[in-house]
């Protein structure tokens, strides 16, 4: 008799084929089936289903864990519970119509997604973006990065057990929401970038709020450092937990802060600067340890660097239009639409047909989103709709790391490691 027959232990009743396949893949992960485990004659292994409904899996991530006592022997990931077919939706929308959908992918930093998508379309359709718009995009993206990292910090510490921290970081995020409200008109799903620029210029109120935020936030960040950097419990929970070597990180395709904390300093803002990242000075925080603590330090440093970038952008912000003045490539301004016939026709055409890249054109453009390299690959058939849009999302790539680093850890570490890798399921499942 096979004592380790997992599939019979699982007894799936829902989506049988999928479940059986998943249990089987957990069974097959490292070894083949043995008749009787000599180390474990009492068969004390337990299969634990963590998620998709679980308070700490950041949405609908599902983990299948094989446990012996409290320690994890093997892990399998099951994702796709938040699949909405975003890439297919894109094929039936004009480029501009699709832009709001990108907000819903990585909903913690919608601004970066907007920018990533618009940059890819601008690349394929050869649209020139005014300088001012580039700087506004950078400011927005860096604010989004801080917002995303703040949520990561709150959930990481909350998963480690300190619930209050989550609310403290949300207090700061609230300020960013207010800035976004004034800057873009929306608090959460901003949809601010437009093909050929941004929707509107920074209002004086938004400018004041951003300046106040970058002046007060470093102090708040110092408070977080004071609270966590010498916190013995936080340290013990994160040090040497979920260690990812550089090699493993590269092999499993980790991106962004996860890769950088494993000792591989790659940041697209430095490597292939887009917008005007080549004009601002900043550093790429990198750590060598590869454990959860390294991920914590890397992301904390990134917030400092983001503040630096915003500060420089505000200093350098040039004057001028915020959207390209070419009616074949971008929406005309509302003044034109309301008061001139041509403007109205252009507006109608942009909404109906949209921007048409040349037939057969292909382009890939990636940005450094808070979670890593977020890339859009577009194939055009000459119409206003993409023939195919493939989105390469960092959360999806980073989730692959989990199966690797969860093996051999304790069950209490799973939540901390998931918190450290910081996946967003909306982005991973698309």
């Amino acid at each position: 008799m096979k004592l380790t027959d997992i599939a019979s232990q699982g007894k799936p009743t829902f989506f049988k084929e999928h479940q059986n396949k998943l249990y089987q893949s957990l069974e097959d992960k490292h070894t083949t089936i043995e008749e009787l485990d000599v180390d474990d004659p009492l068969n004390s292994k337990m299969i634990l289903n963590m998620g998709p409904q679980h308070p700490a899996t950041h949405g609908v991530l599902r983990l299948l864990l094989e446990l012996r006592g409290e320690s994890i022997i093997k892990t399998k990931l099951d994702i796709g519970y938040l699949h909405r077919g975003v890439e297919k939706i894109a094929e039936n929308k004009t480029y501009q119509e699709f832009m709001p959908y990108t907000d819903r992918m990585d909903y913690l930093s919608p601004y970066s997604n907007n920018v990533a998508m618009c940059l890819a379309v601008e690349k394929i359709a050869s649209v020139e973006v005014p300088e001012r718009a580039k700087y506004i995009r950078m400011i927005g993206s860096e604010l989004a990065r801080i917002s995303s990292h703040l949520l990561w910090l709150g959930t990481l510490v909350m998963d480690a057990g300190a619930i209050s921290f989550f609310i403290w970081t949300f207090r700061e995020r609230e300020k960013i929401y207010d800035i976004m409200d004034n800057l873009t008109g929306h608090r959460f799903t901003v949809s601010h970038a437009r093909i050929g620029g941004v929707a509107n210029d920074i209002t004086p109120e938004a400018m004041g709020m951003i300046k106040e935020f970058i002046n007060t936030f470093p102090e708040e960040l110092q408070n977080y450092h004071k609270l966590l950097d010498r916190n013995r419990i936080f340290f013990e929970r994160n040090e040497n937990v979920g260690v990812l070597t550089t090699e493993n990180a590269l092999n499993s395709g980790a991106k962004g802060p996860v890769l950088r904390s494993s000792g591989y300093a790659v940041d697209l803002r430095k490597l292939k600067p887009y917008s005007r990242y080549d004009d601002v000075e900043f550093q790429v925080p990198t750590r060598l340890e590869g454990d959860n603590l390294a991920r914590y330090y890397v992301r904390m440093e990134e917030m400092h660097e983001s503040i630096r970038i915003i500060r420089q952008c505000l200093d350098k912000l040039p004057k001028g239009p915020v959207r390209t003045d070419n009616a074949k490539q971008a929406y005309p301004s509302k003044d034109e639409v309301y008061y001139s016939m041509e403007g109205m026709i252009h507006d109608f055409l942009m909404t109906d047909t949209g921007i048409c890249p040349p037939e057969g054109a292909e382009a890939y453009h990636a940005v450094e989103s808070p979670k890593g390299e977020l890339g859009y690959f577009i194939q055009s058939d000459g119409t206003g709709h993409p023939w195919r849009m493939k989105i390469s999302t960092p959360s999806f790539a980073n989730l692959q790391v989990l199966e690797n680093i969860l093996d051999g850890e304790m069950i209490a570490d799973t939540v901390v490691i998931i918190g450290g890798v910081d996946p967003v399921m909306g982005e991973a499942d698309k």
Partner: protein, 343 residues
């Protein structure tokens, strides 16, 4: 107290029942207050207001919650062991309630002034472990099981340092009767103004108190040792499958346990019902006031810690207990004994 009750009630039995029910009334009122206080402490730590709508600053919020819990459907999972599942919440409450029998609430009231009070208290609170495992096992849920097993390991381990630190107090006090322990802490003679509380009598008793406090945090499942019900990883641990009033009883027992262990700490280290100002504001009624005030201060510290610190992992928890607390408490015990022998 019992004589007074016999005078005003028609029969002795009734007097005894009322005498025994006094701590129950106290626990219920305390739980209402403590749950409200926990939410207020949490809210103010987290920069918000907490319950504000039901009554003045939301004081009646807990009553409203209790009413809601009473109306909830009582769900027992299909594969659960029905008898044990129903029995566990009552056993856990009985265990913490029974332990209140030996707590001297004031110079005028103690449930039962027996000479093995401390021993009885420690023995009866061990039932808590049993009921937690019972709840976990009966739920037939893997999360509950993990929580229950963690709790068993944790409570059994942390009982050792608790008992050792309690024993070191007993060495100084020379009695297992908590009433006697309290009575010997009367007066303000240390350095001319400090009360004669045990914590001021012997420097090593301060260490004993630290060990005791850390251990009772673990025994009553409070952060940073709240592993049995750690909500981020184990959903709700052994309480996962409980709903409605059964869950409410677990909650009540948890708060009762907190109070019980805090009160034990007050009796052993902070002079029980003795006033901190010598004979000023002394007497049975004031004694009760001081006793509860000191107890609630310890409860407040527990809440404060809960909303500030992260949680330890299970292996780190065990390491703290076996590598640090147990050796420290043994050494401390010997040192206290030596101090008592010399001075």
């Amino acid at each position: 107290m019992i004589e007074f009750l016999e005078n005003i009630t028609p029969s002795t039995t009734m007097a005894l029942v009322i005498h025994a029910m006094i701590p129950l009334g106290l626990i219920l009122v305390y739980a209402l207050f403590a749950i409200w206080m926990e939410r207020k402490v949490a809210a103010h730590v987290q920069d918000r207001l907490g319950p504000m709508r039901v009554g003045w600053h939301g004081w009646a919020q807990t009553i409203a919650d209790m009413l809601k819990l009473l109306q909830k459907e009582d769900i027992i999972p299909t594969d659960a062991s029905r008898f044990l599942f129903r029995f566990a919440p009552f056993l856990i409450f009985v265990a913490s309630y029974a332990a209140f029998a030996v707590i001297p609430f004031s110079s005028g009231y103690i449930g039962s002034s027996i000479n093995i009070g401390v021993f009885y208290l420690l023995a009866i609170t061990s039932l808590l472990t049993l009921s937690v495992i019972m709840a976990a096992w009966a739920s037939n849920n893997k999360w509950s099981l993990l929580g229950g097993m963690r709790s068993a390991a944790q409570m059994v381990s942390y009982e050792v340092p608790t008992i050792m630190s309690v024993l070191s107090v007993i060495v100084v006090a020379g009695s297992l009767n908590l009433m006697t322990v309290t009575e010997m802490q009367s007066g303000n003679e240390i350095l001319g103004f400090l009360p004669n509380w045990l914590i001021f009598q012997n420097p090593f008793l301060l260490v004993a108190f630290v060990i005791f406090f850390v251990s009772i945090l673990a025994e009553s499942h409070r952060v940073p040792f709240d592993l049995p019900e750690s909500e981020s990883e184990l959903v709700a641990g052994y309480q996962t499958e409980y709903s409605g009033m059964r869950w409410g009883i677990f909650m009540l027992a948890e708060y009762a346990d907190m109070l019980l262990l805090s009160l034990l700490g007050v009796v052993l280290f902070f002079g029980g019902w003795n006033s901190p100002f010598g004979t000023f504001m002394d007497g049975p009624v004031w004694g009760f006031f001081w006793f509860m005030l000191k107890g609630m201060l310890l409860v407040f510290v527990m809440m404060w810690i809960r909303w500030t610190l992260p949680r330890y992992r299970v292996d780190q928890l065990m390491r703290i207990c076996w590598n640090i607390l147990i050796p420290a408490s043994f050494v401390n015990f010997v040192l206290i004994a030596l101090w008592e022998m010399i001075f």
